[in-house]
Amino acid sequence: MTSTLFFNLCGAGYFLGLFLYLANLAIKKASLRRTATLLVAVSFLTQIAGLVVRWHEAGLVELQAAERATGLTLEGAQRFVVYTRHPPWSNLYEMMVYMAWGVVFVFLVSEVKFRIRFAGIFALALALVSLGLASLTTDAAIKPLVPALQSWWIMIHVVSSAVGYAAGTLGAVLSLLFLVKAKERVSLSSVAAGTLVVSMALFLLLGRGAHLFTTGAYRVKLMSDMGGDLNPAGRFVGNNFHPYYVPSPGVGLVMIATLVIAAVAVALLLRARKDDVPQGLARYAYFAAFGATTATIGLILLNAFTQMDVQVPPEVAAEMVVPGPWRLAVESAQWDLALFGIAWGGQLFLLLALLFPDKLRSLMADSARLDRAAYYSILVAFALVAVVLVTGALWAHYAWGRYWGWDPKETGALVIWITYAIYLHARVTYGWVGVPSAIIGVVGFFIIIAGFLGVNLGYFADGLHSYGAG
């Protein structure tokens, strides 16, 4: 498909842009930065072109399907409605591409308005993670839209969710930058401890909590390898596909070790929270925790490329809907890897901050500007998530007969909105400006992940928004 070519081009552009922004940290030339921003802007336009092309492609698919089903040749307004009703954000692949679009869009706006160094690095890295996840998704093909999505509400509902969540993500990035920069308010030791706590929470969540400790195993999806064509292995229970999970060898134990090391590091860092930059044991404990996180991710990836032939018990093999040979692959744990990768990125940033605190801080905008940019990002996110909730309610009322049904994804969006409501109230009325609001801002990102991807990650029941699973 032509649209995929556009998306690949824009992914390459974002990658190069990320590289240029990184180079800009060492070579502080305004021209370099301008070039990087220009490149990102051009890639962004390429992505828009890709989305338009995909809309056209989807339109042709819709027309063909509708004409085949009805046996009629559509014309005029009817043809236009069918042709345009399938916007390029209706399945998981498209959503991940579209989220990348949202993040870069919000970043470009912030670049014009605030010019925050580092924001580009984080935004592009996250956009690339999103595009990477999209390329690993199995259902990139355009299928005719299911009846529930054939509504004009999908346009405004999904557009505001992508831009709103992207604005929240940028707000989280800026809040993290603020926490690192605001030396006079919070020590790097505390921020490093906080980063490790968030990573630990992720490890526990993705390691299925207590199961990690009781079974000592970290389980990933088993993939069926049919001549290079990877599909999740599993069985059907009624109409529902249940993927089959196997322990990724050794990862469980490394994760437990990482959690223990991180817990020790957090304790030591908190004891040294009075020092801006932790020295001695606390410092080395952080390095060790970072190393252990790296080892976990490395081992998951290593298994993905080396576990080419996984044996399953015969009674399980008999039920499996796709044939062997079975193996592990990156797709076995793509969402987990993305989240671990994000946590790792945060840890790496803190590692650099611990190693070169003054250099890194001197490169950042002053803390007041970071705080202000984060505040405006989250204000935009708050307003747009309100749009998402309200348009969702209206759509649900007309399509399903109830405006609110506590469906997991609805609830997720509500939680994000409440989080930002807390942020705004804490800030505006409590006067929790600075560190406390920045912490809420960072936490907001993880709530977005939980709310937006919770269903797809399989932690929450898949309610009515399950079209995007895959």
Binding site: A65, A66, R68, A69, T70, K143, P144, V146, P147, A148, Q150, S151, S367, A368, D371, R372, Y375, L379, A383, A386, V390, A393, L394, H397, Y398, A399, W400, G401, R402, Y403, W404, W406, P408, T411, G412, L414, V415, I418, T419, A421, I422, H425, A426, R427, V428, T429, Y430, G431, V433, G434, A450, G454, Y459, F460, A461, G463
Partner: protein, 508 residues
């Protein structure tokens, strides 16, 4: 509460709590009120609601109590905990309801507490800039000018403060005051009003709404709705009238995926003089409404039972209509001709599936019955070969379906949707508007000199306002120079304090 230097001076007198309440009851009331207007309660409530949302996302709320118990409540204490917190139905649980009500009371109490102050400040501003007020204002131009420049200064004030500025004089002291977008101050309260409307509507709906399902087989009528009660256990309710499904149509893509589906519904009400009262074709985004209930096309299910045969029948060479008939069912046309599919022949002499049809037509000599075969693969066979009075085509087999109708009655929906509108209007007011005030003061200070003070303050978008005032200052500086250095020094001090406090922190 933030004590923003710029805002303190703008606010009218602080709240006068009066003498401390003496009696225990009064003290209790005062303490409760203080609790309910505290933002700590708001934040704690919001955190509890967030936690509830996560619990509700984690425990699939569409399953029944028994299913949950089987999965989660593996030990007695877990069962007790699970049942006590009603985790199978979190959003209808006592504790969730409690916190929603607390939130509601808190939002109302905070507004009742704060609104009168803001109201006074917005509608009864003090147009005369006092020295005390001036101390708290960040953006100030202050300088001395010659008495002879009075007219020039008044002209300048009129230019920079705009035509709508109000001027008052006290003796030879001249005060001018102007403001913009004062409605922006009420944005937060409008947002809260919208939120209260949504919450109140939601609570009432939660108690009175109906959200059930009817599976109506094609051709039959139904008056009972199946609902999910506490613990997701099913029960039925009588509507008081019947809904009949006249036809259900399912369109699929060639891949077999569903494209769309629709039902023809009729409402049969014994209280109505004419039946059916209403007939409507409903589809996924287009429901039927009757007597306060809304009937949405939600799902469908195939019904097991006799296979139906679809016959297209019409006058020779004319428009044919599709009829679904069971074997032995009689189709009667307007002129009295009847058609009965007698048998299905899976394979007829190498020509594929076929149906034997018995046609009886009235003739002057009495009814005449014929019997013939029509083929699925050869739609024009009957017209071209048999050449009878009517064309009959065997279209295929018809799977009988039951249409899944979601029955909803949410009486307060218009109220809630009005709440959405109010919410957005409020958000636009709160986020886009910024109440800005400008003062000018012209006071003689002796020695033939006048002191000119021009000051400005904004509630929101402090940085944008700083730019705006900088432009204003340039205009003033062009006429009267840079002004007093003392003011500059004070401003620099305030700027430092502001950076330390991280400025952009408007109060509601």
């Amino acid at each position: 509460m933030t004590t923003h230097t710029a805002d303190v001076a703008l606010d009218p007198e602080g709240v006068d709590f009066g003498a401390a309440p003496t009696s225990p009851v009064a003290r209790f009331y005062a303490a409760s009120w203080q609790l309910f207007i505290s933002l700590r309660v708001t934040v704690v409530t919001l955190i509890v609601i967030t936690a509830a949302c996560f619990v509700g996302m984690f425990f699939d709320q569409t399953r029944t109590y028994d299913e949950h118990v089987a999965q989660w409540a593996t030990t007695p204490w877990k069962l007790q905990l699970f049942t006590f917190f009603e985790m199978y139905d979190v959003f209808a649980s006592w504790w969730f309801g409690l916190f929603v009500v607390i939130l509601l009371v808190n939002v109302i109490a905070c507004s009742v507490e704060r609104l009168p102050k803001i109201w006074l400040d917005v509608w009864h501003p003090k147009p005369q800039l006092s020295d005390e007020q001036l101390r708290g204002i960040r953006h100030v131009w202050r300088g001395r000018i010659a008495e002879g420049d009075r007219a020039k200064a008044e002209g300048l004030i009129a230019t920079v403060l705009g035509a709508r500025a109000k001027t008052t004089t006290e003796g030879d002291r001249r005060f001018t005051f102007a403001e913009k977008q004062r409605w922006g101050r009420f944005g937060v309260y409008v947002v809260h009003t919208g939120l209260v409307m949504i919450l109140v509507g939601g609570i009432i709906n939660g108690k009175t709404k109906m959200d059930g399902l009817m599976m109506i087989t094609e051709g039959t009528a139904m008056r009972l709705v199946r609902l999910r009660g506490p613990g997701n256990l099913p029960y039925v309710v009588d509507l008081g009238f019947s809904v009949r499904c006249d036809d259900f149509r399912l369109k699929t893509f060639t891949t077999g995926d569903v494209m769309e589906y629709e039902s023809d519904l009729s409402v049969l009400d014994s209280r109505a003089p004419v039946n059916p009262v209403v007939t409507k074709k409903i589809e996924v985004n287009d429901p039927l409404e009757y007597s306060g209930y809304t009937f949405y096309q939600a799902s469908y299910a195939p019904v097991s039972g006799d296979q139906l045969v679809q016959l297209d029948v019409g006058p020779r060479g004319g428009q044919r209509r599709t009829h679904s008939l069971a074997i032995g069912d009689k189709l009667t046309l307007d002129d009295g001709t009847t058609f009965v599919p007698v048998e299905v022949i899976e394979e007829f002499a190498g020509l594929g599936a076929a149906v034997r049809v018995q046609e009886t037509s009235p003739t002057p000599a009495g009814p005449r019955t014929t019997s013939y075969v029509v083929f699925r693969s050869y739609p024009d066979f009957d017209r071209e070969v048999r050449r009878g009075k009517f064309d009959v085509q065997f279209r295929g087999f018809d799977q009988q379906y039951a249409t899944g109708i979601q029955v909803g009655r949410v009486p307060w929906v218009p109220f809630i949707f009005a709440g959405f509108v109010v919410l957005f209007v409020g958000m636009a007011m709160a986020f886009l508007m910024s109440h800005r005030r400008y003062w000018a003061r012209l006071v003689p200070v002796g020695d033939g000199k006048l002191e000119l003070v021009i000051a400005g303050a904004a509630r929101r978008h402090q940085y944008a306002f700083a730019d705006e005032f900088a432009r204003l200052r340039t205009t003033v500086a062009a006429a009267f120079g840079e002004g007093e250095r003392k003011a500059d020094r004070a401003r620099a001090l305030r700027e430092q304090r502001r950076i330390a406090k991280l400025g952009d922190n408007p109060k509601p």
